[in-house]
């Protein structure tokens, strides 16, 4: 059994109004040192595959085909065996 942990974030060139809103909220909480906030997504997938390479290439395939919109998002992932 493998567990994939995927972080999906907006590309740098894309405006992130959610992140900006969180930034302003942190400032209003009294934390002026905060320079920037970007809000992304974290996805966990458990999958039963024969080996690590198969699991990893499937996870990459899921990201490319569904989990990530490559027009506006970028991603990193790690796969560990459970």
């Amino acid at each position: 059994m493998f567990l994939a942990k995927i972080n999906v974030t907006l590309k740098e060139s894309v405006l992130d109004p959610q992140g900006q809103t969180v930034l302003r909220a942190l400032h209003s909480m009294g934390y002026p040192s905060v320079q920037d906030v970007r809000v992304g997504k974290y996805i966990e997938i458990k999958l039963e595959e024969a080996n690590f390479n198969d699991a990893e290439s499937l996870v990459k395939h899921f990201c490319e085909k569904l989990l990530v919109n490559s027009v506006i998002e970028t991603y990193t992932y790690q796969v560990e065996s459970l």
Binding site: V14, L15, P17, K65, L66, N69, I72
Partner: protein, 217 residues
Amino acid sequence: MKVSVVTFPGSNCDRDVGQVLSEYYSAKVSYVWHKDPLSGNPDLVVLPGGFSYGDYLRCGAMAKVSRVMQDILPYAQKGGRVLGICNGFQILTESGLLPGALLMNQKLKYICRNVELISGSPQNPISQKISKPSLTLPIAHGEGSYFADTETIRILNSENRILFRYKTNPNGSIESIAGILSSNSRVVGLMPHPERAMNPCSGNMDGRLFFDSYLNN
């Protein structure tokens, strides 16, 4: 004219658009469930507004991998006509039938009101046939901010593929883009709802100006 309107789980404007096409344009409308194949060789496929799959993951992301889209992709690639309204436009960009993406509205609020639309590209085949200088259509969306990279925007402009722009940008869309066309003009996506501005009872019939031009194109 045979029209297939697709219903995904969470689509809620399927009957609105089907009803106006049948009532005002005598279209023979079939409603296609997302798990079913696209059959009957329609003249037009409509991806309606709504919240397909609850907008989970990203708006339109899961609709793009549904069974019916496996038929709609080659249908469009062979020159078939597809109209995507609101969530339908999101599905078209997710599936790659139209370029770019629809992001969260810049002010993060769901906007539900009438907006004024002006023609996008001066030589756009659909908007140039609309006699009024601007249309008023309702928008109702939380993720309608159109985004594409600089090169894509340049291409859309140079190929006259921008259908409408917002006169006053409500959601942060790049260049106030409200709707676009594919390179063969057969696939059209727009965030506003022309199907909600057809009936005199609604007080606004500008949707007819869009459909009159679009369907006669």
